[in-house]
């Protein structure tokens, strides 16, 4: 519990620390009677008495203004003026490049001139049409309407207030921060999966972002989470998060990633939830298209080490490919890993090694316009206790394009695994002493047949109907016949699922889905999945 608390405190400290760069000085602020933000071109159009105030002391005013966030330039037009504390220049249009610190002035009487941001001198210059380009954007694609925007260049823009005219479900909010940094480190997340997750930027700077997440998680319901990103160029980032901070089952996570040149990367992650804290370290090395990996993790008292290597994909006849993977490592627990044994204390560390062969065919054309792809995987893991584990999996996927908008995909997958303890199988897989009772009260005597070998078979029919780029329907039917599988234990034998994606407005789309389990352990409909699309 102390570790749990310590990690949560560490994550909270990380969140607090990152607020420092989050309040870094913004480069400029725009005010106007009407601001329209177009996310698709990263542009802000200000109408009716626009005023732009920059951090270097310049004030630009005009009837209208266009801010190109992508290229970090400002254009004011109509009775435009730029001034600092000592000088002022008036013209028909004035463009200011914030990266180059150059000012372009366009006046019908004088022509085009260019000068520095200190406004001391201007010289005649050819008209640079790009600098004076005021795009005619379609208002239907407006994402946010506001009256004030504070911009941190190449990172984010905060709109105060923010109204989302094309998003029917979005309420006006007093403030909204839009992050447009292209750094993918902002995309990493330490949060677990959720049925629905809507981030809301609270504070941010060029290298940081603190965001709240409004989520719906299976088993928890509606909840909130906080996560924070610190990015260091494209090579490293630290992401920390607290999920459900106001619930008893709160969880804290931290992930740090660093790319160490073209061959190596390392990741450290830690988490704490339900009184259990732990962490893992991963080092990946690339050798051409082969790779090797070192991974050590420790949760509570248990620890695991893995050292693995993978070959590149090797070409086989007829376009097939194969790759081989080998690994060696151990599992450790102070009281013994093999708890079934009376002398389990002697097995505090159990080493193992394994081999895995994966083979796949290319997608080949078949009769009747179908296509086929096949995969197979075989692996065996040996333990230093008399024990080994075999796994065989295979899949075949047929696809056929029935029309321009309709595609059908049928697939079959099977997986067999066998946990083998030579001479002691009954010790590790003893027959149940009692009859297993399913959740619906049905007795399951057949479970006694399970002695370590399992088999799963799945038949899937997927149909995709996409009549237009903005509309898509997906219907999936899965028939699963597994062992063991009984009345709520294991996968439902039959499951239907429907997902729909549609875009009622150009700027916003929705993706909703739900499944039906045919009364599997009393469950018929699964939970809705829902997401808002940009």
């Amino acid at each position: 519990m102390r570790r749990d608390a310590a990690l949560i405190i560490a994550v909270a400290a990380m969140l607090a620390l990152s607020s420092a760069p989050a309040v870094a000085k913004p480069a400029f602020e725009i005010r106007a009677a009407s601001l329209a933000f177009f996310a698709n071109v990263l542009g802000i159009i200000a109408r009716t008495d626009a005023t732009v105030t920059t951090a270097d002391g310049l004030i630009l005013t005009g009837k209208a203004a266009f801010v190109d966030l992508q290229h970090n330039r400002i254009l004011v037009t109509g009775a435009a003026e730029i001034k600092n504390t000592t000088r002022s220049v008036r013209a028909d249009a004035i463009a200011y490049d914030l990266d180059a610190h150059t000012v372009d002035v366009l006046d019908a009487a004088v022509g085009a001139r260019r000068g520095a941001a200190n406004l001391l001198s201007f010289t005649s210059a050819p008209i640079d049409s790009d600098r004076f380009d005021f795009p005619d954007l379609d208002d239907r694609r407006m994402y946010i309407r506001s009256r004030r925007a504070i911009v941190t260049p190449h990172a984010n823009a905060r709109f105060v207030p923010a109204i989302f005219p094309t998003s029917p479900g979005a309420l006006p909010v007093p403030s909204y921060m839009y992050t447009y940094s292209s750094n993918a480190g902002f995309g990493a997340s330490a949060l677990g999966g959720a049925t629905f997750d809507q981030p809301y930027g609270i504070a941010g700077g060029p290298t940081s972002l603190l965001a709240a997440h409004f989520r719906y998680e299976d088993g928890i319901g509606p909840t909130v989470a906080l996560d924070d990103h610190l990015v260091y160029g494209d090579r490293a980032y630290i992401v920390s998060s607290i999920d459900s901070p106001f619930r008893s089952n709160r969880a804290a996570q931290l992930t740090a990633y660093q790319s160490m040149g073209p061959r190596f990367s390392q990741t450290f992650s830690a988490s704490a939830s339900d009184g259990i804290a732990g962490g893992s370290y991963d080092l990946t090395a690339a050798f051409g298209k082969a790779s090797a990996e070192f991974d050590f993790s420790r949760f509570g008292a248990s620890s695991t080490l893995d050292l693995s290597a993978r070959t590149p994909d090797m070409r086989l006849p007829y376009g097939a490919s194969a790759r081989l993977r080998a690994d060696i490592g151990f599992d450790a627990l102070p009281d013994g890993v093999i708890t079934v044994l009376p002398d389990h204390n002697n097995y505090a560390t159990v080493w193992r090694h394994g081999l895995d062969l994966f083979v796949s065919t290319p997608v080949v054309k078949m009769p009747f316009g179908t296509q086929l792809g096949v995969t197979a995987d075989a692996s065996r893991t040996w333990y230093d206790f008399p024990h080994h584990r075999d796994a065989l999996t295979g899949s075949a996927t047929f696809s056929k394009r029935l029309s321009k908008a309709l595609t059908a995909i049928a697939s079959y997958s099977a997986a067999f695994s066998y946990d083998i303890y030579p001479g002691t199988q009954a010790l590790f897989y003893p027959p149940p002493q009692i009859t297993i009772i399913a959740p619906d009260g049905t007795p399951w005597p057949g479970f006694a047949a399970f002695t370590g070998a399992s088999m799963t078979r799945g038949y899937t029919l997927d149909t995709f109907y996409a009549p237009s780029p903005n509309t898509s329907l997906r219907a999936t039917a899965v028939y699963a016949t597994d062992f063991p599988q009984f009345h709520g234990f294991g996968r439902p034998p039959l499951e239907l699922r429907l997902d729909a994606r549609f875009r009622p407005l150009p700027n916003v789309g929705f993706d909703v889905g739900r499944g039906y389990d045919f009364d599997w352990a009393g469950r018929r409909f699964t939970q809705w999945t829902f997401s808002v699309l940009p």
Binding site: V41, Y180, A184, G187, T339, T407, F447, P506, S531, L533
Partner: protein, 301 residues
């Protein structure tokens, strides 16, 4: 240099194909070259006695629209009644001056045009008199590049462009999983845009963007623990895409691995068998009931 030459050729072809595109004035009538549809060795003009001549040798890329393009990237205008002769004998030849043939071009300094092409299939030494002909090289092209080539330097109009992304996923992609695109324009939400599956290994998504839009993206299977990895197993840089000024464009990517299909990650095995003794087999997370799960090892031992 070859790339440059080919680029010139491509631009010339595009320019010739573009309606209304400004280009060098074509000859007033079909060129009476001694190859092609004209009669072999049709009347040709001999050099005017006393005319100042310059020569240039090189490998031909092509002859098109009255211009001879060499692999050095140089192009010269050809006089309509050019003579085509054998390089060695100086006599008329049936060898066509096509790609990969070698030629010595003789230019009339008064007009700057080629009046004679001496052809051979054998390599010729590089011309040592380039300075003499440099002034006749066609450099002041007024061609307008095709819009598809314009990605910078001209302000995009912001027109709506249908961009179709096609991605090939690894064969180990779970059959019932969805594939998504996550972009910086959507705040890097991992399940921002679901793609449609089109066959065993390919997913597709068409989305409309304003021309001039520049964005970065990554492929995921819905969460950031299931994000694409490069062929070397490392985290690749995010893809970048610029929407050009076109009606529609298609773009293809390949995902080599998924991050959760790491050899050291928990694998599907006996521990994942759904049994009454293992009612939550796939979560593999510490809980109060099972504070010490062994995700990478079989259970029960």
């Amino acid at each position: 240099m070859r790339t440059f030459s080919i680029a010139i050729l491509v631009f010339a072809l595009l320019a010739s194909a573009l309606p209304g595109a400004a280009q060098p004035t074509p000859p007033p009538k079909a060129m009476p070259y001694p190859w092609g549809t004209s009669a072999p060795n049709a009347p040709a003009s001999a050099p005017v006695p006393g005319a100042r001549l310059a020569t240039f040798t090189g490998q031909l890329l092509d002859i098109i629209n009255g211009y001879a393009f060499f692999s050095t990237g140089d192009a010269f205008k050809i006089m309509p009644a050019v003579r085509v002769v054998d390089y060695y004998s100086g006599a008329a030849t049936t060898v066509a001056p096509t790609t990969k043939t070698y030629a010595k071009a003789t230019l009339d300094e008064a007009t700057g045009q080629i009046i004679e092409l001496a052809i051979t299939k054998n390599p010729l030494p590089t011309s040592k008199s380039y300075a003499d002909v440099k002034q006749y090289v066609v450099v002041k092209s007024t061609m307008v590049p095709a819009p598809e080539f314009v990605t910078t330097g001209r302000a995009p109009t912001g027109r709506s462009v249908a961009v179709t992304f096609n991605v090939e996923v690894p064969t180990s992609t779970p059959l019932t999983d969805s594939v998504y695109m996550s972009t910086d324009a959507s705040g890097w939400v991992p399940n921002a845009m679901r793609m449609d599956r089109i066959d065993a290994r390919h997913y597709r998504l068409t989305h409309f963007y304003a021309s001039g839009t520049k964005f970065s993206y990554r492929y995921t299977r819905g969460t950031w623990t299931q994000v694409e990895r490069g062929a070397d197993g490392l985290e690749p840089a995010a893809h970048a895409f610029f929407v050009p000024e076109v009606d529609g464009i298609s773009h293809a990517d390949t995902v080599s691995f998924w991050s959760d299909q790491n050899p050291s990650q928990p694998q599907v095995g006996p521990n994942s068998i759904p049994t009454p003794f293992n009612p939550n087999p796939f979560a593999c997370l510490p809980t109060k009931a099972n504070p010490r799960p062994l995700c990478s090892s079989p259970a029960p031992h």
